[in-house]
């Protein structure tokens, strides 16, 4: 399919929507491939992920297995949150409700900037970790 828009709802609530320039979906096995895709995720209110607000993900290439909630994105992946977080890395893998990457990552958000190599993020938003030796800055309160 070319020029695809999609939406996903759960219990009557819109939880995600997005677009892709091209999308191949095989119903048998639920395998999906997409290019130049973007997705907007609306976290469940009250969840840890809701702290970030609406999350927007952009990826040049993505593939995955929908029933197994497993997949990879590569060729440049960017994540932005309504809270003000932003992260950029080359590739991301999703498995067992954890997003992982082993490539250099640059992230910034309210009060921080960080560069590292590799990261992991639980999809419920409870733990965001950047590893591989990190360098960055923390914004400080002014003196009284």
């Amino acid at each position: 399919m070319q020029g695809v828009a999609f939406a996903r709802s759960s219990e009557g609530q819109l939880v995600a929507r997005g677009t892709a320039e091209r999308l191949d979906y095989r119903r048998e096995g639920g395998r999906l491939e997409a290019s130049r895709g973007s997705a907007i995720i609306h976290p469940t209110p009250g969840s840890s992920l809701a702290t970030y607000g609406t999350i927007r993900v952009l990826a040049r290439e993505a593939e995955g297995e929908v029933p197994n909630a497993r997949g990879t994105a590569r060729g440049g992946v960017r994540v932005d949150t309504a809270r003000g977080d932003s992260a950029l890395t080359d590739r991301v893998a999703l498995e067992n409700s954890v997003l992982k990457g082993d490539a250099p990552v640059a992230a910034r958000g309210p009060g921080y900037r960080v560069n590292g190599t590799g990261f992991s993020v639980r999809t419920d938003g409870t733990a965001v970790r950047v590893g591989g030796g990190v360098r960055g800055q923390l914004q400080m309160e002014p003196a009284r």
């Binding site: 003000g84 590292g116 970790r129 950047v130 030796g133 990190v134 960055g136 923390l138 400080m140 003196a143």
Partner: protein, 310 residues
């Protein structure tokens, strides 16, 4: 030690972000904090803090742009802070806690401890240790330790709970016989950089060799080179030197002459002798005593056989 501390130039930390390095970083937005683990290094201006673990806590309330905007008369650093503040999304760290073999460097001064807590708005760094390994501040070969050391980051003032100080700078610089160091303990010490003054309070104990002086409070004064010039003990002083004991309302120690002068109803007790006078001078090295306008009771028979006695 205190003398050396006074030599350091007072300078506030520059405004703006804190640079960090670590093995990894965990972002915990719900707890409003960032956690750094493994060989953590935090640098801001000339302040360098290292440890194994650090937690940076964000201020509870996100300040509005109007609140953050500096007043026109504020110094340049605040304006820079405001600019960087905006680029950081309006949130900023108000406190960070570093633990595990904490090492602090600021200029020529270094400090070690087991935990360091920086209160950013208050511009303080509090170092604590363990009973076996108390926090320490060093400058060259000089060392100051205590139960808790508070370093002011907007000046070079230091506040110490239960300090233990060796006043090495009080040692005689000339002469072939090195004098014993002057050791000071107290419940509390405040080093006031601008006034070149160290204020010891509560249970002050000064030791040099077999001389022990106690008083409720004491001030140590320094010259422009950071050399100790004078110790002023106030509020009732009790000095013991071997069998000899002297008391007075005040005692002044002259670091150059290495004499202790007791005034304010001074009394000298030396075995059976009891002397009073206008003032009592004790020479710490020679152990000579001079009493001005002396009066009292002498029992020379008790001193027979002592060195210098017939």
């Amino acid at each position: 030690m205190t003398g050396v501390l006074f030599l350091l130039a007072a300078a506030a930390l520059p405004a703006g972000p804190l640079d960090f390095k670590a093995r990894d970083m965990r972002i915990e937005p719900q707890e409003r904090r960032v956690v750094l683990d493994g060989d953590v290094q935090l640098v801001r201006g000339d302040l360098d803090v290292k440890g194994q673990h650090a937690v940076a806590e964000y201020a509870k309330e996100q300040r509005s742009a109007a609140q953050k905007r500096p007043a026109p008369q504020k110094r340049r650093g605040r304006t820079q802070a405001s600019q960087t503040d905006a680029s950081f999304g309006g949130q900023s760290v108000e406190r960070f806690t570093v633990t595990g073999d904490v090492k602090v460097r600021r200029g020529d001064r270094t400090a070690d401890g087991e935990q360091g807590v920086v209160d950013v708005p208050a511009q303080t760094l509090v170092l604590t240790g363990t009973p076996d390994t108390p926090p320490v501040v060093r400058d060259g070969s000089e060392t100051l330790s205590g139960d808790r050391i508070l370093l002011r980051l907007d000046s070079d003032d230091v506040d110490v709970v239960r300090p233990k100080v060796v006043l090495r700078r009080s040692l005689a610089q000339e002469g072939s016989t090195p004098a014993a160091p002057v050791k000071v303990e107290a419940a509390h010490l405040t080093l006031l950089q601008a006034r070149r003054l160290a204020q010891f309070t509560d249970d002050v104990v000064v030791r040099q060799g077999d001389t022990v002086a106690r008083s409720p409070k004491m001030e140590a004064r320094y010259d422009g080179d950071g050399q100790l010039t004078k110790l002023e003990m106030r509020g009732g002083v009790d000095v013991r030197q071997g069998d000899r004991r002297a008391t007075g309302q005040t005692a002044d120690y002259d670091a150059r002459a290495r004499t202790l002068v007791l005034q304010g109803d001074p009394m000298l007790y030396d075995k059976g002798d009891v002397l009073t006078g206008d003032r009592i001078d004790l020479a710490l090295d020679s152990k000579e005593v001079r009493v001005e306008r002396a009066r009292g009771r002498l029992r020379p028979e008790i001193h027979k056989g002592e060195q210098g006695e017939p």
